[in-house]
Symmetry: C2
Subunit: 274 residues, 2 copies
Amino acid sequence: MKIAENGSALGDVLKHSPGPRVLVPTMGAFHPGHISLMHKAREISGPEGTVVVSIFVNPIQFDRASDLEAYPRPMESDLAACEAAGVDVVFTPVADSMYFPDRSVTVTETLLSRDLCGAARPGHFDGVCTVVLKLFLLSGCDVAVFGEKDFQQLAIIRRMVRDLDVPVEIVSCPTMREADGLAMSSRNTRLTPEQRADAPRILRTLKAAAELGDVEAILARAREEIEASPLARIDYLSLVDAETLQPVTDLVRPAVLATAVFYGEVRLIDHVDL
Amino acid sequence: MKIAENGSALGDVLKHSPGPRVLVPTMGAFHPGHISLMHKAREISGPEGTVVVSIFVNPIQFDRASDLEAYPRPMESDLAACEAAGVDVVFTPVADSMYFPDRSVTVTETLLSRDLCGAARPGHFDGVCTVVLKLFLLSGCDVAVFGEKDFQQLAIIRRMVRDLDVPVEIVSCPTMREADGLAMSSRNTRLTPEQRADAPRILRTLKAAAELGDVEAILARAREEIEASPLARIDYLSLVDAETLQPVTDLVRPAVLATAVFYGEVRLIDHVDL
């Protein structure tokens, strides 16, 4: 396994690597969800192709300095996990090598990023689009693999690929969950034992509410059951169209019930399809 | 010479074309300036490489519908000129094949595009960046050739390539001029004989003023001499840093004296280096 610490080192390492080249863009702090993305990448690349994992806690997609600061960075165990998953190349740039101080070019998305995490985290998805495009172009990947847990991110990246003619195929993998249903997330390690015990209510609530069949009833029930916990604070709770991500008033087309919930300073997201 | 009318046709045509692949992005209506870019492209590609010329009047970089409407589109003679210049592939997409109706992703530049043509034409350079990135990615070019006449555009594209890690080398060619000094432009054909006779005053004025050695004197003299013509109306006249394109107050670093002048509805730009 080779490690590249900046773009030009990555270019050197990949210069003669065999295709197809499959990228897994991550912020590290791996849990089994990430590992499933790496296995999917290997499945796509085949034994002869090249699997690249990037580990980069991207500062320009954080709207809160405290969240960026607190984001876990267990580099040593992450590298061991990549090695164990049979990854060929790990790209671990520092922020200084990714962004010039007088950086002035950004990729912006104005439609799918309006609601949900976009409303709650201004600038977040522009930061995501910008770094993901950079990682695509630096790695020259043919395919990139993303988790479905961040479903808004996934929709926005597909939109970017479509609108900018980016020659990268996007593949997604299902959300991995703990035995009690909590969506796996690098942020889960920051929960107190009490918060951790309470957090499965998020999925449980979304699932139960989704059965109600009426937009207002679904939203009211879900809000009520999450707010029933003194530990949980809803950031947003929305029922949106699965394609446009705009809030819906009826359930004619496929929809997604999505929420972001704060436990103390830790923000967890989850969603169910309707 | 092959012609592709949408992105997927271009991909097919270029699939097995030999490298290096050199792109000349244009809006058509060729004059000798464009032809010089094609010759430069061939010089870079060598006889074995592939020269691609795109002809696309990009709607999203026009802020005035009248200008978009009036932009000349002499496709037949443009194709003949490409053929004569030994171009391998011409890409002539229609707007519908480049932009989805619900397009929501744009490349934005916030620093170099603030002044000059950026101030006068809101959204113009975001439209330029977006289409140029799309053309780079659709063509998969190794090198792209631009004219120096649009020096702000050139600076912004270089900045985009740097900030987004676009794997394309940018090469520029000097402004081509008529015998009387007027910068060649596709818009020159829209000048009346009277306007055409007056327009060489732009370069003459910039050159003379640039000799004065003092920022305020330069700007005052240039403004005075252009406004001396009843046919000319200044859109902007600025003395900017050659690298940051921000207005300067002294002449310590390399600077550019740049102007945009309206003759009726026709807007002409030119600049001189200091």
